[in-house]
Amino acid sequence: MAESIKHFINFAANPKVLFPCLLILTLFMFPGNDKLLAINKRLGLYKLWTKKGGIFLFSFMLLFFIFGLTDPNFRLIVTKPDNVPIVALLFLVNFFLWLSMKQAWENDARIAKGQPPQEAEDAKEKILVWPDLVYIEFIALILCSALLLAWACALPAPLEEPANPSVSPNPSKAPWYFLGLQEMLVYFDPWLAGVVFPTIIMLGFMCIPFLDNNKKGCGYYTFNERKMAISIFMFLWLVLWIFLMTTGTFLRGPNWNFFGPFEYWDIHKLEALTNINLSEYIYMILLKQPVPENILLREIWGFLALGLYFGLTPILLALTFLKNVFKQLGVLRYSIFTFLLLCALSLPIKMFLRWAFNIKYIVAIPEFFFNI
């Protein structure tokens, strides 16, 4: 029984399975528009954001970890001192996600009834900062210190063998908060995954206040009033950030192969490497002719695809799904918004292309280190 559960979890944890599932789950858990919201309501997913839902969520997580800890492989990876903060982070993120969503749904219910949100209700009353806030903060930092001291006593800070530039550990991992980026390296070249995307992420985050010109939902928890913003944010934050980081930490072993949480990190594990560039795919497999030597001619398809993706999709979206958004944001903001969104979506798309068609690069010009 336990074995087959583990087998199932190992199977389900594979990004090929888990990532699409999460993507779809996010879509419905945080519905971006009214249609999706209706489905959400019909499925009763919102019930997770209640006390009962919370208890369920945390019991489930707790049970999973308790069950997991009986397995030596799981224990090994989860209790590694440097991984402990990530385990804690998983609980914390889920807790605060639940906390915020619970308040949001409660407020939404109030607003639906024509009442102001809870915060507005509270804000009518003014409180002197001394002593309430100061005291609360004081207690918080005492607790925080206690946590830190206890943590320091309980877990030794890791120190491995002395640095040796000629022996690289397998796998070599970046610090845990960069593992999302490292996970992206599986699908994108370093110049994209390590430089361009982080820059876009940083700039994109800075752009949020200027792209989200929805006047509502400022200063209180609400979901209904900013469905789309929250939906996109959850996709970026939960799926592309926290999830990829977790995968990189727990599920990537030697040779950066995937390993289920209950799987032994076998250094000999082999995965078939049958990836192929788009140009080769088109010329060799579809057109059955030699790949042209001229770089431009060779990669024309890739450039075409990219051009369409970044040029045509925004226009199509503006005419269809995002008609309102386009109206609301204006051309410039809309272009930036869609560009950022398409960048974010390029990762799942690239993943899909890799998994479905073994596509390695859309555009491959290794001569100039220019691979997309």
Binding site: V129, L148, A152, P169, F178, M206
Partner: protein, 264 residues
């Protein structure tokens, strides 16, 4: 005042002396005026306004994450300064000094506090950002402060990243190697990035492994002596200095943009 109401304490007596008055202007805040004055008069408490709307005091609204981030930053500063007494950032000594922190230095647990504090700070900063997003607090007039916040978040991760190298063990140099290799792939100015060859003139390459973005970061062609020193300096002086400046702006802006966010 329900608390502190057990007659005149020794501290209260002290507050009434000339020295006491000189230091604690307000004395123990027993009435409303005093409670306001203490917030106004102290340089540290002045960070907060005198009064707040009620929701802003509720932990379930604020999660306390911003304050905790700042507090952990302070803890890291103090423990970091103490660690610097025993740590020498050279390839000869760094690793041994870290061992000694555990084996020999009294209360070398300081290193554990520092390391786990660093992890904690990354977590609290992320959660702070999460909360700010969920309450829509980046919306006007707080757009700019959100931008500062993002910068601070990046700086926090850079602080952690630079500190990661200092123990000079396998974990450290390979994590930094993986991380810094990405810098080498920077378009145009990374030796193994796209377009580096475009900057060549004739047969002369201008972007090489000893003149690219990665080199500027590591002070060498690979993670070695130069990288250790650069990361040390950035970790201990450079980044904290920049971070301080942004934190000042951040806090100032919190107050100037109308205090903690709330429904308007």
């Amino acid at each position: 005042m329900p608390y502190f109401d057990s007659g005149e304490s020794l501290f209260e007596k002290f507050c009434k002396t000339q020295v006491g008055r000189a230091i604690f202007r307000t004395g123990i805040p027993r009435n409303q005026r005093q409670r306001m004055m203490i917030m106004l008069n102290g340089v540290f408490l002045h960070l907060h306004p005198v009064r707040l709307p009620k929701h802003a005091v509720k932990v379930k609204y604020t999660w306390c994450m911003g304050g905790l981030s700042f507090f952990v930053f302070l803890v890291l500063t103090v423990t970091g300064i103490l660690l610097m007494f025993y740590y020498r950032p050279t390839v000869e000594y760094a690793y041994g000094d870290i061992i000694d922190l555990k084996e020999q230095v009294p209360l070398g647990l300081m290193r554990e506090i520092h390391r786990w504090g660093a992890h904690l700070m990354v977590v609290t900063v992320w959660l702070h950002m999460f909360r700010v997003f969920m309450t829509g607090s980046y919306k006007p007039p707080r757009e700019f402060n959100w931008v500062i916040g993002v910068i601070l978040l990046v700086l926090t991760m850079l602080m952690s990243f630079t500190g990661y190298l200092l123990p000079w063990d396998q974990l450290a140099i390979w994590a930094i190697t993986v991380g810094s290799n990405m810098a080498g792939a920077t378009p145009l100015v990374g030796a193994s990035g796209p377009g580096a060859s475009l900057l060549a003139i004739g047969d002369v390459n201008f972007i090489t492994s000893s003149s690219d973005a990665r080199f500027a970061m590591l002070g060498g062609r690979f993670v070695g002596e130069g990288a250790l020193l650069r990361f040390y300096v950035l970790h201990c002086i450079g980044l904290p200095f920049v971070m301080m400046i942004f934190m000042i702006v951040h806090f100032w802006r919190v107050r100037k943009d109308g205090g903690i966010s709330g429904p308007t």
